[in-house]
């Protein structure tokens, strides 16, 4: 389809800007724009059709099943969108004085409280903009904590199953990275761990359940190893949807936890964002939280900026407030039954696992938590069909592919997370599609090699995209000067 720039015609426009009859101002010539930007010149009707056509070429949870592992693609309740757009939230300036923002501050205070209860840790900052930023903030908290104690520790340990964000955050925080292996049951290898934890270790970053969808059965021992060495434990909340109300990171021994509000608490993913990455901590780490924090004084709420030991600010203002409204509304729709949310997420995943284990390889043969990892290694060996081929063929069945080739410890990995909101019929549709694809791999592998067949485009030349990058529309000619 055409780009919006190709629909542009000189002189066409959608906007009408009010004319207040003021004198046209003079800007210093050296600061004034010489050539107008080549923004598209289009009427409103074409903008609406363009957006609609783009939407038609995009697959969301609203379109169909989206079992993208570790991304928790659950239904996004529409009441959250309605309350997120209330004028009292939408049109509230972040520098409004606290007495003019009591409703917003109260909402954030309640949200902090619910998050603290879910984590089993007392203090929360809402500021980080996404899970990755929560990770980075968590590592900065470790740094500040140890610096304050006069301890020099320079190494962070991650699992070989960790999301790529963990090692990337470690580097950005100025730490060295050490990797620990996963054992045959999918738990952290305790012997490997004992050999790597020492007085230089600042802490562990761990996802639990792991990216294999398995709860680390040795978590108490893991926590003891780190705490005995004076180190801290960081909980990557990417997989929190498995354990809300069932097991709390604070009770597992973690000292710092981040949440992904766009995963567990249903902030819509928006084609890539926005998200929210609050962080909860134990008492001894609270003094270092980013400022401001919402506090309650009697019946009033305020932003507390006076935090002398704070790591500083990681983002503008108190955090992505619109995300807070949606997540708070989501939590209030469940109440204590948030536990049932996680239970059903785990039930749905185990049901899929049970029904797919014969058609695909199962590298870790245990009950899973909210997601699980299959492997297409046998399909590849016997029929030359890869995880990517399976993923592309699923598209023809109207299903978004799972996460593929991750975690790295599983060859030809297919990481599947159904979430709690799917009805059994949709799970059965997925099972039918995956089983059919496994049969097709044997009977007509070319069908998979050439998939997808029913999407707006076929497979792309990704090498060309990277080798000859075209990262913006190439205008043919200079624009006519607009005056």
């Amino acid at each position: 389809m055409e780009l919006i720039f190709e629909k542009s015609r000189p002189g066409r426009r959608a906007s009408r800007v009010p004319d207040y009859g003021l004198t046209k101002p003079e800007l210093p010539p050296e600061l004034r724009r010489a050539h107008p930007p080549r923004l598209p010149e289009v009427a409103e009707s074409e903008i609406v059709r363009h957006i609609t056509a783009l939407a038609d070429r995009t697959f969301g949870i609203d379109t169909g099943f989206y079992p993208l592992g570790s991304c928790t693609m659950k239904h996004n309740p529409r009441v959250n969108e309605r309350v997120g757009r209330l004028a009292g939230f939408r049109d509230l300036h972040p520098y409004q004085e606290d007495d003019g923002a009591q409703g917003a501050l109260e909402l954030m205070w309640h949200l902090q409280g619910i998050l603290a209860e879910v984590a089993g840790l007392p203090a929360v900052t809402l500021q980080p903009a996404a899970g990755s930023q929560g990770e980075l903030a968590g590592l900065m908290l470790m740094r500040a904590y140890f610096a304050d104690r006069g301890e020099e520790r320079d190494t962070i340990i991650t699992a070989d199953t960790a999301h790529g964000t963990n090692p990337a955050s470690v580097t950005m925080a100025g730490y060295k990275l050490e990797r620990v292996e996963t054992d045959a049951r999918g738990n952290l290898d305790l012997d490997d761990l004992r050999g790597k934890v020492n007085e230089r270790t600042a802490g562990l970053m761990l996802t639990n359940p792991s990216t294999l969808g398995l709860f680390d059965e040795g978590i108490e021992k893991v926590a003891r190893i780190f705490h005995d060495a004076g180190a801290l434990l960081y909980y990557d909340g990417a997989n929190l949807n498995a354990v809300v109300g069932i097991s709390r990171p604070g009770d597992m021994g973690f000292d710092i936890v981040h949440y992904n509000l766009h995963k567990t608490f249903s902030q819509p993913h928006g084609g890539g964002g926005p998200g929210g990455g609050p962080v909860a901590v134990r008492e001894r780490i609270e003094p270092y939280l980013p400022a401001p924090v919402v506090v309650r004084d009697g019946d009033a709420f305020r932003l507390d900026h006076d935090r002398p030991k704070s790591i500083g600010r990681v983002r503008g203002f108190a955090g992505p407030f619109g995300v807070f409204v949606r997540s708070y509304a989501f939590m209030r729709a469940y109440g204590p039954e948030l536990r049932e949310m996680s239970e059903v997420a785990v039930l749905n995943a185990n049901y899929l696992l049970a029904r797919l284990r014969d058609a695909y390889d199962l590298p870790y043969d245990r009950h899973c938590m909210h997601e699980f990892v299959l492997s297409a290694r046998t399909l590849k060996r016997e029929h030359g069909i890869t995880a990517l081929d399976v993923a592309k063929r699923l598209m023809d069945y109207g299903i978004h592919p799972p996460t593929v080739y991750f975690p790295l410890v599983v060859p030809e990995a297919l990481m599947i997370e159904p979430t709690e909101t799917e009805p059994k019929e949709r799970l059965d549709d997925f099972v039918d599609a995956m089983q059919a694809i496994a049969r097709e791999a044997a009977e007509s592998p070319e069908l998979l090699k050439e998939a997808p067949h029913a999407r707006p485009v076929r497979r792309l030349d990704e090498v060309r995209a990277a080798k000859q990058p075209v990262l913006r529309y190439q205008f043919d000619e200079k624009p006519a000067l607009v005056d």
Partner: protein
């Protein structure tokens, strides 16, 4: 309550298929000592109607711009968001998709990001843009990370007239990056190019803001030239809404252009979510943070779009990545794109001209001494005869929020009020502000 789908019959059938007699068996992998043996202590569940009532009650306790006539800006601006943005936000495909890892499923969102990258490049005069960063603060930290890795210097210089929150975030990140951060003071509201040249002599980058935090127009071309001559990357922190009337940073030699995108397409929303933009010259493309969409072809040779240059990113490069970012601000960035499509080049220029004109009108009508004798875009700092905080309190009692107290960030400026004007304020609104300020000063 909640949003679950399974019936009791479904559950029984599914447990049987799994081969367990109860749900509890699935959780036996969790050691008993770390299981929660009680109900979560959280507020009770609310049906949808009561949820709306509760949230509405909270919303109504906020003094939003429909309640107070507001002249607050200081980085977040109350520009008009056109109704066509609602078309985008209400399409579930955009709302409920995630990062387009599978391009065949996501051509729409990929093309939209490609169009967004193009308009950001057009506005800033840069060659490449990423798909968005978190906000105007974190993109500044990202830019410092890029500067560090494309220079052998370990210092960044920030203008004191750069948004204080941006400076705070850069300082937070800089410790991990191993970067020293210094600041250059303003002289009468703007930065002096000669002072900048001295400070930049051993710096990887200099960040200046145009228009700056005081609303003043910096001598940005001179500042950029001074930085680049000193061997430091010039980074401009700019307001997209100003770029219909103000020169593009690429035209005056900047290496990177960054900023807070909120003013184009996003309501204030108590601070977010909004979007940060990050654009740069071609030579920085392989050090850029974040997602980037590129054009290619499919097997049939038809044009298609895909996430590209992914070897920069954390899921491939892990600890050697250029950034840890995954989730970004795509939906808000696309709201910005749609707003710019609606404005077009003429609309963007007209909004800019209206802002400049209203600000001139306010200078005339307020009858207060200007804190700085400098040209302005959409904000003006005025001196009050009383502390700004007291004036704000008294003016709010009369239904007008007159602006931002600069003393919150700048010692010695307790009597300075920063007044923001957008096209949503009318000359009559400015008259009312003038009358209220005259009454409380």
């Amino acid at each position: 309550m909640g949003y679950l789908s399974l019936t009791d019959a479904d559950r029984a059938e599914m447990l049987a298929a799994i081969g367990v007699s109860s749900l509890d068996e699935l959780f036996e992998q969790i050691p008993p000592a770390v299981r929660l043996d009680r109900e979560l202590d959280v507020p009770p569940a609310l049906p949808e109607l009561e949820l709306v009532r509760h949230l509405t009650e909270l919303a109504e306790r906020n003094a939003h711009t429909g309640v107070e006539l507001s002249f607050l800006g200081a980085g977040i601006y109350d520009h008009y968001v056109p109704a066509v943005v609602d078309v985008l936000l209400s399409r579930g495909e955009f709302l409920t998709a995630y990062t387009p890892y599978q391009p065949e499923m996501s051509q729409g969102v990929l093309q939209a990001i490609f169009e967004y990258q193009t308009v950001i490049c057009e506005l800033t005069g840069m060659d490449v843009s990423n798909a968005s960063g978190y906000d105007g603060c974190t993109v500044a930290a990202d830019a410092c990370f890029v500067a560090k890795h494309t220079s052998d210097r370990a210092k960044v210089v920030l203008a004191e007239t750069l948004n204080p929150q941006v400076r705070q975030v850069v300082k937070t990140y800089a410790r991990g990056f191993g970067l020293e951060v210094t600041e250059i003071p303003h002289r009468g509201g703007t930065i002096d190019p000669d002072e900048l040249a001295v400070e930049a002599a051993d710096a990887a980058a200099v960040i200046v803001q145009q228009p700056n935090f005081f609303g003043c127009l910096e001598p940005a071309p001179d500042l950029a030239a001074a930085a680049e001559e000193a061997g430091a990357h010039a980074i401009a922190h700019v307001d997209l809404m100003s770029l219909g009337v103000l020169e593009a940073p690429g035209e005056y030699g900047c290496a990177m252009a960054i900023g807070e995108g909120q003013s184009v397409g996003c309501p204030p929303l108590y601070g977010g979510p909004h979007y940060g933009f990050f654009a740069a010259r071609q030579d920085f493309v392989r050090r850029m943070p974040g997602r980037i969409v590129g054009e290619t072809v499919d097997l049939d040779g038809q044009r298609a779009f895909v996430l590209t240059l992914q070897t920069r990113e954390q899921h491939i490069r892990r600890e050697k990545a250029t950034s840890n970012i995954t989730t970004n601000q795509t939906l808000l960035a696309l709201a910005g794109l749609v707003t710019l499509e609606w404005l077009g080049p003429q609309g963007l220029r007209e909004v800019g001209e209206t802002c400049v004109a209203l600000t001139e009108y306010a200078k005339e009508r307020l009858d207060l001494p200007l804190a700085f004798e400098r040209p302005t875009f959409s904000e003006v700092a005025v001196r009050l005869p009383r502390p700004a905080r007291d004036v704000i309190r008294d003016a709010r009692a009369r239904g007008v929020h007159p602006g931002y107290a600069l003393g919150r960030d700048y010692p010695g400026m307790d009597d300075v009020l920063l007044v923001a004007l957008t096209e949503k304020r009318t000359p009559a609104d400015v008259d009312r502000l003038a009358a209220v300020l005259a009454g409380v000063c």
